[in-house]
């Protein structure tokens, strides 16, 4: 029961952060009304969790409730909103989240002992073990024989991200063409709504974090609709790891929008039952997204590239 409460609270915090991103992306101003229905659509959730997230923001004095009118924005300056987002992150800052974040930022190594973590975080042994259990359940961490714990490979370097794309290029199109693939129309509709909203935002307003969230949700949806249990399991675990540890990468606005359009094209093909076309579109989408920026470049010398040229 405590676990359910913890998850619900974290969902509300995540949703509240999503609302703050949307406020920034849409350039809303102090005094603007935040309609529950519209934000439910933007965030792809029903109205009940949306109201809980609004109430959380009200408690932080970001929103105010007006009887029979709804929730209104009280602050809209980007600095104040960023501060509010940080405040929410602090609320979200369970020990598990801090450990994960420190590993993703290369502050701690990939093999850890309980006693080392107790010292670093000045936490009790019980709290550390609990955090490790949470991370282990999420597939991020494995207990080694003995007392050490090892992190799974993470999205903590350009090479890791490139390896991830290489794997996804093999598996994601296959997930679509595997027998029995069935798109969940309700979730697809919600995804569409979120992506349409982002595409309607003004140039330069889509945040890297906002895009990464929608992107992992979209690819997670494709994985969940696959009927091959092993493909589905592998991809879902991988997308969870992406969501937990991939840093927001700075992608130019043009490419963010192009990628969202590609997601919508894939959904179009899936809804028409054109699975082979959707799989080809997925290949194209992943190839375009596979950022292969040179590692080093200087005049006169050939740029240093990651991996083989394609």
């Amino acid at each position: 029961m405590a676990e359910v409460r913890r998850n619900a609270r974290q969902n509300h915090i995540a949703l509240a952060k999503q609302v703050l991103d949307a406020v920034l992306e849409h350039g809303l101003r102090a005094g603007d009304h935040l309609p529950e229905q519209r934000f439910s659509k933007v965030c792809g959730v029903s109205r009940t969790p949306m109201r809980a997230a609004f109430k959380l923001l009200e408690s932080k004095e970001i929103l105010e409730w007006r009887e029979e009118e709804g929730f209104f924005l009280t602050v809209a300056e980007p600095d104040a909103l960023a501060e509010a987002a940080r405040g929410l992150e602090d609320m979200d800052g369970s020990l598990a989240a801090r450990i994960l974040s420190d590993r993703a930022d290369r502050r701690i190594g990939d093999v850890q002992s309980v006693s080392g973590l107790v010292r670093r975080y000045n936490a009790s042994r019980h709290m550390v073990l609990n955090a490790l259990k949470i991370l282990s359940r999420d597939g991020v961490l494995t207990q080694l024989p003995g007392r050490a714990w090892a992190f799974q490979p993470m999205f903590d370097s350009p090479k890791a991200i490139d390896d991830s794309f290489a794997m996804r290029l093999t598996l994601e199109p296959q997930a679509i063409t595997a027998p029995g693939f069935a798109l969940d129309p309700k979730r697809a509709g919600l995804m569409r709504g979120q992506m349409d909203e982002l595409l309607r935002s003004r140039e330069g307003a889509i945040t890297a974090a906002g895009f990464l969230r929608v992107d992992t949700d979209f690819h997670g949806l494709i994985a969940e609709c696959c009927r091959n249990r092993f493909l589905r399991g592998t991809l879902l675990t991988h997308h969870r790891l992406r969501q937990a540890t991939q840093k927001d990468t700075a992608i130019p606005d043009f490419r963010l929008r192009q990628a969202l359009e590609e997601h919508l094209d894939i959904l179009d093909s899936l809804e028409r039952g054109q699975f082979d076309l959707a799989a080809d579109q997925m290949t194209l989408h992943l190839r375009r997204s596979r950022n292969r920026r040179s590692e080093a470049a200087t005049r006169g010398f050939a740029p240093m590239m990651r991996g083989p040229r394609r």
């Binding site: 974040s101 290369r106 470049a297 005049r299």
Partner: protein, 423 residues
Amino acid sequence: MTAPTIALFPEASFGAALNCVGIAQQLQRMGARPVFICHPGFTGVFAEYGFREYHLPDPPSEQSEDAEDYWQGFINTHLPHFDLDPLAQLPAYVAPTWEAIVDTAETAEPGLRALLDRIRPDAILLDNVIMFPAIANAGCPWVRIVSCAETEIPDPAVPPYLSGLAPEETAACATFDRAYRAATASAHMRYNQFRARNGLTTLPDGEFLEPSPSLNLLLAPSAVRYDRDVPLREDSFVFLEGCVREETRFDPPPFAVGEGPLIYMSFGSLGAIDTALTRRMLNVFAGMDARFLVNAGGFLEAYDAVPDNVSLASWFPQPSVVAQSALFIHHGGNNSFCEALYYGVPSLVMPYCWDGHDNAQRAEATGTGRRLDRANWDEDDLRYAILGLLNDHPMHARLSGISRQMQDTPGTHVAARAVLSLL
């Protein structure tokens, strides 16, 4: 009327490439059709900004040896040279680099000619340090973009290119000039022969790229410009007050601990190969009350035990980051220096090669930043340099004025208007 096609051809460095993106974004807004000619290593960089790319062919297989070995060789050979002073770098780094640049020009020529035949541009924008005969022979106006320091265009009152000297150091300037010509003589002779074979006139000693007869765009904000003995012709030379591209919004990541000013450090993709220097600097940052964003380029995996007040990444949307920073520690690349000025942010310049030396000197001379020798510093030097710049209120006031002036006349707009007026 069909939109004019403008072919932009930046050299294979991120400074030139992203400078051109800023101009191309504005050209597109003004109704032109910018396209990019790019080196194979830059595939996708321009497409991500929405521009069509035309790729030069891959170099022959014997030149495209295993990338890891090639760059490991480069690092082993040249990393120690980055600690030398500009004069000592001439034979060690500058001369072999010019040889490599001439090789690049010769290798690229047939492919470039074929691409220009396909594109049939209405104008070509060349952001490079060397001329490609295919561009001069393309039959359309070409524009020279000088996105290196202003020293690239010589003048008796301007210190020699790459010297890091002040104009008043006349004796040292003369010595450097002689040494530069001697160091580049072999590459220069080979380049002139290549030009002659392709129907171009030869160039004077030390020069590898002539001014365009039509238009030359210099990325040199007025705050750091030199007084010239021979003023540049106003009908073909246009100065740009910064050339800042539009980037995605950047939200600083949460730091594990720490408050304090946000400091951004980037030595460019090439500078990032010196991971030992960066690690030394991280040790100093760890003890400071500030938050540091550090561009580790392609070398993130070289770091562990990153301090709690430091966040590393392999790429930052630099203009968005600089705009939020209280200090920018960089290598003196002209784009970085100009972005710091554009947003009114002090520069701590630690140059390692090329025009970084010139910009480091200029930052000190104009009171817009400080120079710190990359090889000879101890923890206190770095700490005090950072704190000194953060607390230099007269410098902040000066930079605010410079920033306002630059933002009032964005270089991207000036450049795009000048280019379109040629057509």
